[in-house]
């Protein structure tokens, strides 16, 4: 409880770190902030070509089907992989001055989150331009889904960033894990083609539900299933609590380990 109050007191620091990160990320590059959009767009093009032209599937408007899942996925995976290095990257600050250490993963995940929100502008543009149509009632649930994903990503980032301080290999291991995780989550394919016996495993994966919700809202134009959303929220909160506990335990020796 006191942690939450303290984090609230340091909200200005979170804001300014997020701002610094967003402004500094593409500093010096010619295209600058446009990279925020170019990166996911190229991933989208590659995956669309591979999975709809070469491997073939019968999903109509596959590019949109993929796009609404890919953007949230990129947010999640960058939160855990690059987020893992966030504490180590800020070691100068941590060794020099006190502030609640959680500020760092929080601000990192938040800046990834803002990036995702910006990409959603592109998603909506694509939806409108291609005439795919929007269900406004369903879109109203979108913020809830986003918050659930944010909570989950934050929990994971807290865990990975704290452990990475003690065990630097994790950063690299997570690159592999993130790739495997993506293919074990119905991002490029549909959950319906997953064999029955693997389904319980897929259901344990919180990202399955979250991606499912995004797709229901933006692709199927329906309000998401309440059970799916609750599953996702429950798992998200669980990971956040575990992440926060792990982080709190490990943070005491950050200054010495860095």
């Amino acid at each position: 409880m006191s942690t939450i109050k303290e984090l609230y007191d340091y909200r200005q620091m979170i804001f300014s770190l997020v701002k610094k990160d967003l402004r500094g990320r593409y500093k010096g590059s010619v295209l600058g902030f446009l990279w925020t959009f170019i990166n996911p767009l190229f991933q989208l093009i590659v995956y669309t070509i591979v999975f709809s032209k070469i491997l073939r599937n019968d999903i109509p408007r596959y590019y949109l089907y993929l796009f609404v899942a890919l953007i949230p996925w990129i947010f999640f995976s960058s939160s855990i992989t690059v987020g893992a290095a966030s504490i180590v990257a800020q070691k100068d600050l941590i060794k020099k001055i006190y502030f609640p250490r959680m500020v760092i993963p929080i601000s990192y995940v938040t800046s990834c989150f803002v990036n995702m929100l910006l990409c959603f502008i592109v998603i909506f543009a694509v939806i409108i331009v291609t005439g795919a149509g929007i269900n406004f009632l369903a879109v109203l649930t979108l913020p809830i889904i986003m918050i659930v994903e944010y909570v989950l990503a934050l929990g994971m980032a807290m865990m990975t960033s704290a452990i990475t301080v003690y065990f630097r290999d994790l950063e690299h291991i997570l690159g592999i894990v993130a790739m495997a995780w993506m293919y074990l989550t119905p991002v490029v394919y549909s959950k319906s083609i997953v064999p029955e016996r693997y389904l319980p495993l897929f259901n344990l994966n919180p990202m399955t539900h979250i991606i499912d919700c995004y797709r229901t809202v933006l692709y199927d134009k329906r309000v998401p299933d309440l059970t799916t959303l609750l599953w996702a929220a429950g798992l998200g909160v669980f990971f956040l609590i575990v992440g926060a506990l792990v982080f709190n335990r490990l943070q005491k020796h950050f200054a010495e380990e860095l």
Binding site: Q12, I97, Y166, R168, E256
Partner: protein, 413 residues
């Protein structure tokens, strides 16, 4: 607000560091060389307890590595103690690593916001302070330029201004009153006094005992991880100085002995420090206190007796012996010789000892190099030995300059 409210309570804290002889933090290293990641446990704090009342200022003193900086780091909560508890009441600001989180490409103003945010201030609080921060830093003309264009002095001034304007309840300071020029330093000092008068609790770690004496109500001397003495700065600092000077003399003596064993005579022309015709050579220089004990550390106001032993190869007529005292910046503090002092010129025919007694030496604390020269007639060097000898002055005063000028005050109301 009770008068005796406690702001800081430190109870029996211990802290040790693992000093890895060969640390691997990668998986491969951990698995392959498990036995290799041995470490030594170094106990830095062995159980320290003290309390600081609200509005009190204390100074932590002790020699390098005694644990005073570690204590301060534990107070800031950058690190945590292995055992024991620390209780702090109120907002803590630290002047430990100034300018943490400064971004070189951002303007001074933006950096004020970022830096103040790191101290836990919100936007409204920063808005209300920004004017006084900029004013205090004297950087109004440059405040919208990127920080990378600042000189290091400007950088420190900005950082200090932010940290000191946080309006903390507890202020922790590590050796930072060396910010900017003398003017700004005295301004900082005044600001610290003002802050203290407003009821802020202050903890200072410093080597400058003068600063501690001027601000602190109490000194805590930490020695090898334990509190050795605690009390009014004037008493504790003196006790500490006494201990240090004795220790310094011991080590100086050891060094001197080692050097003497190395070579009987000082090496010729060591780094261009020595020149002359060489007809007579300085062999050994020693310094003594008034009571005759050999030492090279003196208190301001003590008498110093210098002796110079020399060899003579060829007789030197019209010889002059002189000395010069230089501070560590190379500024000459004093210099004279036997001719200036109107001693009759003399002839050096065989080895001997020259002696000069410096009375009531008023040099302020610091290290000083002494040049010794044997010359012939109107300044022909026979053996000019630069930086031939080193003495150290210690003083409990915090005055500045080169030498203490004797003075007295009279204040009229």
């Amino acid at each position: 607000m009770a008068e005796n409210e406690i702001a800081i309570e430190v109870r029996d804290i211990t802290k040790s560091f693992k000093v890895y002889l060969d640390k691997g933090s990668q998986l491969k290293e951990r698995l392959l060389f498990r036995k290799r990641s041995r470490y030594e446990e170094r106990k830095v704090l062995r159980g320290i307890s003290f309390t600081v009342k609200k509005g009190e200022a204390i100074g932590l003193i002790g020699h390098n590595g005694c644990g005073k900086s570690t204590t301060l780091k534990l107070l800031t909560r950058i690190m945590y103690p292995d055992s024991g508890t620390i209780k702090l009441k109120g907002r803590v600001s630290s002047l430990i690593e100034l300018g943490a989180g400064f971004h070189p490409d951002m303007s001074g103003r933006e950096n004020i916001y970022t830096n103040a945010a790191i101290f836990g201030l919100n936007k409204k609080e920063i808005d209300s302070r920004i004017q006084s921060i900029i004013e205090f830093s004297e950087l109004a003309d440059f405040i919208d330029n990127p920080v990378r264009t600042y000189s290091s002095g400007m950088y420190m001034r900005l950082a200090f201004s932010v940290a000191i304007n946080v309006d903390a309840d507890i202020l922790l300071i590590d050796e930072i009153l060396a910010v900017g020029d003398a003017n700004f330093q005295s301004k900082c000092f005044n600001k610290l006094r003002e802050i203290k008068a407003q009821g802020t609790t202050i903890v200072i770690v410093s080597h400058s005992l003068g600063q501690i004496e001027q601000i602190c109500d109490r000194s805590i001397w930490i020695h090898e991880g334990l509190i050795r003495a605690e009390g009014p700065p004037k008493e504790i600092d003196l006790e500490y100085l006494d201990y240090m000077s004795r220790k310094l003399q011991d080590s100086n003596k050891k060094n001197a002995e080692a050097e003497a064993a190395d070579s009987e005579e000082p090496v010729e022309n060591k780094q261009g420090k020595r020149w002359g015709s060489g007809e007579a050579r300085i062999k050994r220089i020693r310094s003594f206190a008034a009571d005759g004990t050999e030492q090279s550390v003196f208190r301001t106001g003590e008498d110093i007796r210098l002796t110079v032993e020399y060899n003579v190869k060829k007789p030197v007529r019209d010889a002059v012996i002189g000395f010069g005292i230089f501070d560590m910046n190379g500024v000459q503090c004093y210099g004279t010789n036997t001719r200036i002092d109107k001693l009759p010129e003399f002839e050096l025919t065989e080895g001997g000892t020259a002696e000069v007694t410096l009375k009531n030496v008023q040099l302020i604390s610091g290290e000083y190099m002494i040049d010794i020269a044997i010359e012939q007639g109107e300044g022909i060097p026979v053996d000019y030995y630069r930086q031939a000898y080193k003495i150290q002055m210690i003083s409990a005063y915090g005055d500045s300059g080169i030498a203490r000028v004797d003075h007295s005050w009279k204040l009229q109301r």
